[in-house]
Symmetry: C2
Subunit: 448 residues, 2 copies
Amino acid sequence: MSKKVFLCDDEMPTSWYNVAPDIPNGLQPPLDPETMQPMAPEKLAAIFPMGLLEQEMSPDRHIPIPEEVLEIYKIWRPSPLVRAFKLEQALGTKAKIFFKNEGVSPVGSHKPNSAVAQAYFNMREGVKRLATETGAGQWGSALAMATSMFGLKCKVYMVRVSYDQKPYRKSVMQTFGAEIVPSPSQYTNYGRSVLEQDPDNNGSLGIAISEALEDAVTSENTNYALGSVLNHVILHQTIIGLEAKKQMEIAGESPDVIVGCCGGGSNFAGLAVPFIPDKLEGKNIRLVGVEPASCPTMTEGKFAYDSGDTAGMTPLLQMHTLGHDFMPPGIHAGGLRYHGMAPIVSALVRENLVEPVNVHQLECFEAGVLFAKTEGIIPAPETCHAIRGAIVEATQNLNEPKTILFNFSGHGLIDMAAYDSYFAGELHNYSLPTEQIAESLANLPKVG
Amino acid sequence: MSKKVFLCDDEMPTSWYNVAPDIPNGLQPPLDPETMQPMAPEKLAAIFPMGLLEQEMSPDRHIPIPEEVLEIYKIWRPSPLVRAFKLEQALGTKAKIFFKNEGVSPVGSHKPNSAVAQAYFNMREGVKRLATETGAGQWGSALAMATSMFGLKCKVYMVRVSYDQKPYRKSVMQTFGAEIVPSPSQYTNYGRSVLEQDPDNNGSLGIAISEALEDAVTSENTNYALGSVLNHVILHQTIIGLEAKKQMEIAGESPDVIVGCCGGGSNFAGLAVPFIPDKLEGKNIRLVGVEPASCPTMTEGKFAYDSGDTAGMTPLLQMHTLGHDFMPPGIHAGGLRYHGMAPIVSALVRENLVEPVNVHQLECFEAGVLFAKTEGIIPAPETCHAIRGAIVEATQNLNEPKTILFNFSGHGLIDMAAYDSYFAGELHNYSLPTEQIAESLANLPKVG
C-alpha cells in the first residue's frame, strides 16, 4: 500500500456529522448558573450567532458546510492520511499505524476547522468583532487567521504564562491583525479583580474565558468564540474523521483503534465520532482519548454539572471535570490543561463508547522525538500525547496485526521551547495528590 | 473553478526533469580552482556520491525518482496548487493568481525535496555522515530531517547571526538528532583562521560552506551536501513545477507568468524550468526570478566564473555573482543572502529565458502581511519576495486577465522575529553603493 491517501477536492465531505442524536441516553442541556434551569437560547444569543446556536442544539445528523467555509477549507483540506511505516519499523510492531495530518493547516493545527466556521457564521449575522481566549496559542492563531479572512476584528485574551513564554505565537496573531493581551488583564472587571488579589497571577484558561466572555457581553457588536468543548466546535471538527473514513476505505483498511489527545476534546472527537455509527452497528472499533496525567479530567474527574470558566459566567455543562478552580501543574502541553471535557466526549465516556487513558509528559516527548526522527514531522506537545497513546496500542502485543489511526492534531514548529526543556532534562512527570482533586471537586456548583 | 487542485498519489511525477540539455548554448563545466581546468569527477567524488554526480552532469532529460524517495515525498507531496481568490479581490485585479504551497512539508519549506534525495543517494553508497551549512535554517532543518530518516549523522554549520537569533531553528535540527555549531567555529582550520582575525565575526553562507566542505574532506565517511545552486539540487526541485504543470492543466489554466524568489535559485528553478520546453516551443510564458535589492546577484552582478564559498575551496562555477567575498546587508530573508546564483538559472538569464527583478524588503513584508490576511498563510521572509513579485505582475494593469503562478516556497511560522521587527518599524530598505559591488567583483578569480 502507498504511503499516503489524499482525497481530491471533489471527494471532500460537504456536510459535518452531528453525533448528538446518536449518543445513547443523550446529552443533558446546559443550565443557567443563575437559575439552575435549562439555559434560555435568547441568553446565549447575546454571545453566539444563531447559526452556531442552531448547530449547538441540532437534532440533525448531517449539517451542510457553507460554500464559503468549504472554499477556505480547501486551502489545506482534505488533509493527508499517512501510514507511519518507519515508525512501525522502529517499534518492531506488526500493527499498522495511520495518522491524519492536521498540521498542514495554515497555522499548523486542527483549530482552523472550527475557527473558519465560527468566523463565517458570525460575519453572516453582522457581528463585527470576536473576543476569545487562548492557552497554548493554537486557537488564538486560528481565530486570528479566520477573522482576518472574513474582515472581523479579533481580541485574544492569552493566558499570561503563554503570553510571556511564547512571543512568536503572539507575532502570528498580530500578523493576522488581532489584538492580544495577557490574561488576567486590566481590560475587564474580572481581570482587574484577579490582579488586585495577585498582581503576579500567571493566568489560566478558566480566567481567560471569563475575561473574553465579559468583553463579549459588554462590548458593541462583539460575540464570543470558544475553541473546544462545545457541541458546535466538535461538529466542525468532524470534517477530520469524515475525511479519514473515506481515506481508510480507499486504503482498503478499517481501524481497530482510534486515538487522539484530549484537552477540551475537539480534535479527538473530530476524528473519532464519525466512527460512532459503525460502533453502534456492532463494528469492533475502540476509541481511545489520551489526556495528561497532570490534568486527568476523564480518568480521575467527576461527571457532573460544572462551570466552563473560573468566574462562573458560562452556562453549567454536564461533563467530566476536575472542578472549575482546578489549577493543573505547568506541563508544556498548554492545550491539554483544562479542567473540563466536552459534554459530547464526556457522555461517550459515560456510555463506555470512549476509553479514557492518561499518560505522563516525559514518555510523550520521547514518543514525539521518535516520531520526528522516523516520520520527519515534529509534533506539538499536545499531539505527542496522541502519539504516545498510539505507541502503547502498537506495542502491547507486537505480533498483533491491529490497525491504529491517530490524529496528528498539529506540528510543533512554533513550540520548540518545550523540546529545548525536554532535551535539557528540565521536565519531569507530575503525580497529582488526590487531595488536590478532591478539594477542587468540593467546589462544584450545587445543581437540582 | 475550485479553490485548490490536489493531485492524488498516483498522479505524482515519478521522474525529475533535467533542464540542462534544453538550455540553448548549454552550461559550462565547473573548473578546478587549483588548475583552472574542468573539474575532474574523481575530485568531486571525495565529497559527493556518484548517484548525485551523475545527476549533476547528466545529459538525460528525465531522471527517475527512486522508490524510497517517492515514499518519503508522499508524506506531504503532491503539494497543493491554490488559487488566491481573496488576494486577487484585495488587489482589485482581473489577474488570476495561483500559488504552489511548498509550506506543507514537514519543516515548512521546499528544501526537503532535495534533502531527502541527497540523504538517500549518500546512504545508498554507504556514506555515514553529512556536513552542511545553513543560513536562515531552512536547509539545515530539511537535511537534519532527511538524514534522520535514512539513519545518517548530520553536522550543520549555521551562520552565527542566525544561530544566535533563531534558537528554535536550532531546536528543530536537534530534535532530528543533528549536531549544530555556529559558524565560524573552532571545529575547522578555516573557521579558526576567521575567528583569529575577528572573534566577533557574524558569519556568512560563504564561510559556513567553506567550513562544511573542510569537515567533509577531513572527516571519515563524511560527504558534503549543498541546499541550492547545483544542478542536482535544481533537478530534485523540479518536482514542484512538474506537479504544478499537471495541476494547472486540471484547473484548465495556463500560466502567463511564473514567479519565484531567488537566493541560490533552486525553488524558483524548481517551479519554473519544467515550463522551459513549452517556452522553447514558442509558448508565451514569462519566468520572473525575484531577488532582494540588497543582494542583487542577477540584476547587478556579473556573469562569470566564481567560487561558491569564501575560502575558495569549491569548484568555480559560471554564474551570476556579486563576488565571493560580497557581504550583503543584514536583511531578514537570510535564505536570499548569497553572492552567487545557480549556473542553470544564470544561463537561463543569459539566454533571456528568465527575467530577473529585484525588490526592497519593506514592500516584501507588506506583501507578506496582505497575503497572510487574505489567504491565511504567513509566508517566510524569502517567500514574501515571490509574493511581492506576483503582486507587481497582478497590478501593473488591473484589467489585464493574465494568469500568474508563484512558488510559495515556505511558511514563516519559525521566523516570526522578522515580522516583529517589521511591525516595530525597525526594518528599512537598503540601497547598495555601486562601489561595494565593484569592489567585490574586482576579486573574481582569473580564469583562462
